[in-house]
Each structure stands twice: as structure tokens, then as C-alpha cells.
């Protein structure tokens, strides 16, 4: 325990000695981590949105009236299910379609009751669920080409576009994070290198009197950890407060009610812990690189 305090104290001294370098490392971590936080927020929300979209994006296939016999309808169902990207296709009778229509008109829907029976002008239909919302257009085109299909319609195209926009943003942020992470590691490694260089005499005395290599290295590793720690405070605060604020102002949904945002509690705690661990990991990795290079085992 006493040892740990000593190492931390020495680490602080090292950080203060190269304040400019330390601050630039810390700010790179800060910026990197902001994007890491953003990345995590988008990722987990997309996950939830995709889930919602998968349940709601489906294709409505109207059956051509001249193919209404049982054999044709069944064979159409089989063909639809055989298409790539189709998860399920549910047959919907004319009555069923009428129910859906009546329901969709709400209070005034009952005026359509008179359609029920032999004279129902609606078409038989298949409701097709697809595996990936992004494929909806191509699946719809394939279905339209099948024999016995009168028309296809699908809702939610805007939703799918939105989703793919989010996915693209996520990938962009991911690349940004990777690039910034590299810069952060490099800057931390350099900070630690300066720190090691400025302690040359101390290190050589430690070696002479028989301090172990682990003992000599530890304060420098702590320096990296501390840089990570300090670098993570601001972005964790911003991301947490920002997300809670966004959640509240947007009423817990993103543009459409279909996209329910992940509830900030306890989600934001997990994100914060993940950010902290990533920051300390990057700090440790950067300092580890430097220590490995400049404080190798030697006699």
C-alpha cells in the first residue's frame, strides 16, 4: 500500500514536470473519449432502433385477383418465403385486410363494415417481414416480379434511411476514434519518454542501489494511467449530462416514436465506466510502450 502511494506520488511529480506535454496528452484523450462516448451512445441506440425497425418494417403484397385460388395463393407464399432476406410471410384474408383498414381509420372505420362479405373489394395479401431493414427496397422489387402479385407497398422507408444514416455516422466516428486513439497513444508514449529522460540520474541511482525493474517502471505506468484518468473526467461529464439532456428534451425518442432512446439510467453509468476503462487502458498502453522501449531490462 505504502508502495502504491509512493508510485502515485512519483507519477504526479513526473506529470507536473512536463506540464505542457501532460496537458496535450490529456486533451487528446479528452477529445478521443468524447468520440468514444458518442460512438457508444450511437451504437447502443442503433441496436435498439434496429430492433424496433425489424419489427415494424414489412412489405404489404397484394395478390392479383386472377390468382386468388388456393393453389396459386399458396405457391405465391412459398415463393415469397424462398426469397433472400425474407424472414416470414403471413397470409392475410380479405376479411383480415378489412379489419386492418377499419382499425386504421379509428372511430370512423365502421362505415367500411358494409364491404364485408362476398363484395369485399379488397385484395388478399401477404405481410412480409424482412431480415434487415436496409434490404427492404431490393426485396420489394423481387416480390413484385413474382407471378400473381398485383402490387407491393411498404412503409418505413424514411426510417430505414435514417437508420442507415446513423449507421454511417457510427462508422465514421469509429474511424475517428481509431485515428485519435493512435494519436493519444503516441502523445502519451512521448510524455512518458520525456519523464523517463528527465529522471535519468534517479533511475541510474535506483539501479545502482538494487531497485527492481518493476519498481523503477511502476511510477511511469501510473503516469499513463493518471493521464487517462484526468483525460476522461470532462468527456464522461459531457457525455452523461449531454445524453440525459437530449433524452429529456426529445422526450425519450429520436425523431419518430418508433425510435425509443435507451433510458439514461443505468445506461449512462455503463457508458461512463466503459469510457473510464478505455481511457486508462489507452494511458497504460501508451506508457507501457514507452517503458518497454526505454526501461528495458538491463544490467
Amino acid at each position: 500500500m505504502r508502495r502504491i502511494f509512493r508510485h502515485i506520488k512519483e507519477a504526479f511529480i513526473g506529470l507536473l514536470r512536463h506540464l505542457a506535454m501532460t496537458l496535450s496528452s490529456i486533451s487528446t484523450i479528452t477529445i478521443t473519449l468524447l468520440f468514444v462516448g458518442l460512438f457508444l451512445l450511437i451504437t447502443f441506440n442503433i441496436e435498439q432502433f434496429t430492433y424496433a425497425v425489424e419489427g415494424s418494417v414489412n412489405i404489404h403484397v397484394k395478390v392479383d385477383p386472377s390468382f386468388e385460388d388456393d393453389a396459386s395463393v399458396n405457391s405465391l407464399g412459398v415463393k415469397i418465403r424462398a426469397l433472400n432476406g425474407v424472414r416470414a410471410a403471413t397470409f392475410s384474408s380479405k376479411d383480415n385486410e378489412l379489419d386492418a383498414m377499419i382499425e386504421s381509420f379509428g372511430e370512423n372505420g365502421s362505415i367500411f363494415e358494409s364491404y364485408r362479405g362476398e363484395d369485399n373489394p379488397l385484395r388478399m395479401a401477404y405481410l412480409v417481414e424482412i431480415v434487415d431493414g436496409a434490404d427492404i427496397e431490393s426485396v420489394a422489387v423481387s416480390i413484385r416480379e413474382l407471378e400473381g402479385v398485383e402490387a407491393v407497398a411498404y412503409g418505413g422507408i424514411r426510417v430505414v434511411e435514417l437508420l442507415s444514416l446513423l449507421e454511417n455516422t457510427r462508422q465514421f466516428v469509429y474511424i475517428l476514434v481509431a485515428g485519435l486513439g493512435l494519436i493519444a497513444v503516441f502523445l502519451i508514449a512521448n510524455t512518458i519518454k520525456l519523464s523517463i529522460a528527465s529522471r535519468g540520474l534517479e533511475i541510474s541511482i535506483m539501479r545502482t542501489v538494487g531497485a527492481t525493474n518493476g519498481f523503477i517502471r511502476t511510477p511511469f505506468l501510473f503516469e499513463g494511467l493518471l493521464i487517462g484518468l484526468f483525460g476522461s473526467i470532462l468527456p464522461i461529464g459531457l457525455i452523461a449530462i449531454g445524453y440525459i439532456w437530449m433524452f429529456d428534451t426529445m422526450g425519450g425518442q429520436f425523431i419518430t416514436p418508433m425510435f425509443a432512446l435507451v433510458n439514461p439510467f443505468p445506461f449512462i453509468y455503463y457508458v461512463s465506466v466503459a469510457m473510464l476503462l478505455i481511457a486508462m487502458g489507452v494511458g497504460l498502453f501508451g506508457s507501457g510502450l514507452s517503458v518497454g522501449k526505454h526501461l528495458r531490462w538491463k544490467r
Binding site: I205, V209, G210, T212, N213
Partner: protein, 227 residues
């Protein structure tokens, strides 16, 4: 006990620094190593403290085959040795007391004992009244006393000194030798001292090993030395 048997040292650049040195130093001996510049004196010290490995031959200290020591074992081995350099190597931002304490802290000595031991050691070298001074506030002789205190704080069996008086005037140098003799006498510490100072070798007669071009040219128990 320090044993060198047919020790050769050739540096990476091809310099033959030592050519078949053999000698035995008993525990508690006080030995001078003399010789012209480049004769291999510092090389012997670096072999003894494990910084360098012999190209050929055996270097054994306190029963440890130093040349064969694994890297990870070197630190523990070094705790048997104290080393004093010509240029003191004190930490400027630490006080006298902290400089001595440093050597104990970094080998994990328990705090209370370490502080007690650091104070005792400073007293032993005659710096009790300078505990809170910084190195730049001390004379050269006093600085070297701090370095000696730091080297013996951990109670090593062997104290090796590479020209400890090289930066000091003769009067101060004599005081340092007196101190080393006292340490040698009171704690039976083996002392190996590299020096250029003829005056000292002749006034404080001790076993004297002379090197030249990496060869051992004389080993006189009676001591004394003339050009």
C-alpha cells in the same frame, strides 16, 4: 569475498579492457586499485556490480557468480554492494536526508526503520547538522559524504568507490579516506577504491593492485606506489 579468475573483457567495439585478471579479496579488506587512464579500473568495478559481464573468466562476489546472473536477479544482488562515484550523483531536488533515505525507499525498506537508518548513517558520515540542506548548499567533501552515506545505508558487504576523491582537494580527500577506513574498521565492510591520488596511496598504506593496459602489473600487500 571477491574472486576474479582469468577475467577478460572485450567491449563491443573491440577494445580489450581487461586481459586475464586474477585476484582474491577477503571480506573486510581495504584495497586500492590504481593505474593510468584507460587501464581498466572502472571496467573491474562494472564487472563487480554486474553492469558488464566478463567476456571470459569468473567474477564471484559473496558467493554469487556475477557474470552468470540473470537480469532479473541483478537488483537483489546489488543490494550487497554500495557504489560511490567521482561525481557524487546526488539528487539536487532532495535534501541530504532524503538522498540517503532514497536508497532505502527504493529497495522497499520499512518506513520507520528506513528513516532511523538514514539518520544514523548521516551521523556516521558526520552530517547530522546538514540533514535538511540541499546538495548545492554543501562543499564537495560534504557532498561526497552524502554519497557515501547513501551507498552504505543498506549495510552492504562491499563498498566500491570509483575515484571518490577525484573532485576534491587533498585535505578533503584525506577526510574521505579517513571516513572509508572508519567504515571498513567498524562494520568490516570490504572496500575497493579506485584512485589516481598517489599521495593517499602512500600516506594511508593498504593493499594496492596496479593495472596497466588491462593487465595486473602488481599486487602489493604492503601498499605504496611510485611512478
Amino acid at each position: 569475498m571477491i574472486i576474479l579468475k582469468q577475467v577478460f573483457k572485450t567491449y563491443k567495439n573491440g577494445t580489450n579492457a581487461l586481459n586475464g585478471i586474477s585476484l582474491t579479496i577477503e571480506q573486510g579488506e581495504f584495497v586500492y586499485v590504481i593505474g593510468p587512464t584507460g587501464s581498466g579500473k572502472s571496467t573491474i568495478i562494472r564487472l563487480i556490480n554486474g553492469e558488464e559481464v566478463p567476456t571470459k573468466g569468473l567474477v564471484e562476489v559473496a558467493g554469487v557468480n556475477v557474470g552468470r546472473l540473470r537480469h532479473s536477479k541483478v537488483p537483489l544482488y546489488r543490494r550487497n554492494l554500495g557504489v560511490v562515484f567521482q561525481d557524487f550523483k546526488l539528487l539536487e531536488q532532495k535534501t541530504v536526508f532524503e538522498n540517503v533515505l532514497f536508497a532505502l525507499e527504493v529497495v522497499n525498506a520499512p518506513t520507520i526503520e528506513a528513516r532511523k537508518r538514514a539518520r544514523e548513517t548521516c551521523a556516521l558520515v558526520g552530517l547530522s547538522d546538514k540533514l535538511n540542506s540541499y546538495p548545492h548548499q554543501l562543499s564537495g567533501g560534504q557532498q561526497q559524504r552524502v554519497a557515501i552515506a547513501r551507498a552504505i545505508a543498506n549495510q552492504p558487504k562491499v563498498l566500491i568507490c570509483d575515484e571518490p576523491t577525484g573532485n576534491l582537494d587533498p585535505a578533503k580527500a584525506k577526510e574521505i579516506i579517513d571516513l572509508l577506513e572508519k567504515i571498513n574498521r567498524e562494520s568490516n565492510t570490504t572496500i575497493l577504491m579506485v584512485t589516481h591520488a598517489q599521495g593517499i596511496v602512500n600516506s594511508h598504506r593498504r593493499r594496492t593492485i596496479a593495472l596497466s593496459d588491462g593487465y595486473l602489473v602488481s599486487d602489493l600487500a604492503a601498499g605504496g606506489y611510485k611512478e
